[in-house]
């Protein structure tokens, strides 16, 4: 479902170890970064189902933080995302849940972010092969996918949502 390009299949170029649990997670964090135009001050990230069960082994937490810091999927700094988050005082909390009631997929993350007085909430599912589907921005139901830097333009459209 939703694969549009040969580069959705051969790609992304990424740091390991998992396209769905690492690269896809970078895109969900990155969507928040693009909407804010910069890294947030504080985030609360809820991981569901397979994300919650295996985030440690897959570096899903590091990948989401990397995305929130504006990193690309192939940025080797993702490996040390906690240190980079600390450098800019990005406060982060992870919450682990079972299946997501809002979106039927095992790899879902919902990010609540704050930057100054701006509050933002983004829901995304990493559906496989490094392709992520954003399904909600604040209270607006959306439906678009991100698997390349070019796709990030789709996010920016919702900047005033």
């Amino acid at each position: 479902m939703g694969y549009n390009s040969c580069f959705d299949i051969i790609g992304p170029i990424m740091v390991g170890p998992s396209s769905s649990h690492t690269a896809g997670a970078v895109w969900i964090g990155r969507a928040v970064f693009e909407l804010l135009g910069e890294a947030p001050d504080r985030v609360e990230i809820t991981l569901y189902d397979s994300f919650a069960e295996t985030y440690q082994g897959h570096g899903t937490d590091k990948a989401l933080l990397g995305g929130l810091l504006g990193f690309d999927t192939e940025d080797v700094r993702i490996k040390h995302a906690y240190d980079h988050a600390e450098e800019i005082n990005l406060i982060h909390t992870f919450i682990l849940e079972e299946s997501c009631p809002e979106f039927n997929h095992p790899n879902v993350a919902i990010i609540k972010a704050e930057k100054g007085n701006k509050i933002l909430e983004v829901g995304g599912a990493s559906v496989g092969g490094g392709l992520s589907q954003i399904f909600r921005i604040n209270n607006i139901k959306v439906e678009f996918t991100i698997s390349t830097n070019e796709d990030l333009k789709k996010v920016v459209k919702y900047k005033n949502a």
Partner: protein, 324 residues
């Protein structure tokens, strides 16, 4: 133009007298509006990254942070260099290149997802072995990536390519099936033969569960990538011998979807079943995660201190509640 089945694909190839790789480039050009040369160059960049991961992985004997993988690609290469390999140079080189890539992936090195990172070893393994052992140059390998992506595109849109959604059959199964068809086309086989190879490779991996130890993309993922290359060559050789899959490729892909839908959650990348819950698998998980928890705890303590600091400096606090 949007090819959604191998039936559509073969019709297109026949009508336009094109290869599968050319069909993919046509479709990408049609859908994205990008010039064909730009599309080719983008794919070439991916091939170059794959080559780098292979080369680095073949030299790197270090362990992954988990301590449960790493060093095997170097062992495989030494064994090949000793000159008495049972499976011949094409397959053994593919095994070494595949292992090198998957080990790099486990170290959080840079790889190319093909179609996923968990299955990222198979295509580079097959391609760089063909490059070393036959006269296929890098540009031909780029065309091979277009063949692979067309086959993967059909699989991904009809079924799935992630272990969490459909088990390992969707990852290593899909990658092996894509690689089998790619080998056939690179060896000059027809689109029909490539599609038969795809079907035969996928059939042999139907039902394979995703059961990574401690949720890491290492055990058994790395070795499944390595062995996937052998299956890809076997399926390709059968197809090139004009052996056909008795079940059409589209039906095999749809079967993969049905099986994945019926697969218990414990066997879909949750690390709650299969090899992940063997006594050894559980021990690994315990050892690794007790270590992580300790680090988190220490971090939390530090940040509490600094939050109480009069300067009001807040440091990051990674609070991860214990689920047990």
């Amino acid at each position: 133009m949007d090819i959604q089945s191998t039936r559509d694909l073969l019709d297109y190839c026949q009508r336009e007298n094109k290869s599968i790789a050319e069909a993919m480039i046509d479709q990408e050009h049609f859908k994205s509006g990008k010039p064909k040369q730009e599309i080719f160059d983008m794919m070439k960049e991916r091939l170059e990254k794959m080559q780098r991961a292979v080369n680095e992985g073949l030299e790197d004997a270090s362990e992954a942070p988990s301590g449960i993988s790493g060093g095997d690609a170097v062992k495989m290469r030494a064994y090949i260099d000793a000159g008495d390999v049972l499976s011949g140079s094409i397959i053994s080189d593919a095994m070494a290149c595949s292992m090198a890539t998957s080990e790099s992936n486990a170290r959080m090195g840079v790889i190319v997802a093909t179609p996923t990172a968990g299955a990222a070893g198979i295509l580079p393994g097959v391609l760089f072995s063909l490059h070393k052992n036959t006269d296929l140059d890098l540009d031909k390998l780029v065309m091979g990536l277009f063949t692979a992506s067309m086959l993967g595109y059909i699989i991904a849109n009809r079924s799935f390519i992630s272990g969490a959604a459909g088990g390992c059959q969707a990852e290593v199964g899909s990658a092996t099936a894509m690689a089998a068809g790619t080998i056939v086309e690179l060896k000059g086989g027809s689109p029909q033969q490539a599609v038969h190879a795809t079907a035969m490779a996928m059939k042999s991996l139907l039902g394979l569960v995703c059961d990574p130890v401690a949720g890491l993309v290492e055990v058994p993922c790395i070795k499944r990538n390595v062995i996937g290359t052998s299956i890809a060559f076997s399926a390709a050789d059968m197809a090139l011998a004009s052996i056909e899959s008795r079940i059409p490729c589209d039906e095999v892909i749809d079967t993969m979807y049905d099986i994945g839908k019926n697969m218990p959650r414990a066997l879909r990348e949750t690390a709650l079943g299969g090899l992940a819950i063997t006594p050894t698998g559980k021990q690994v998980k315990e050892r690794l995660f007790s270590k992580t928890k300790l680090v988190k705890q220490l971090k939390g303590e530090n940040s509490d201190e600094s939050q109480n600091n009069d300067n009001g400096i807040k440091t990051a606090s990674g609070v991860i509640p214990d689920r047990e």
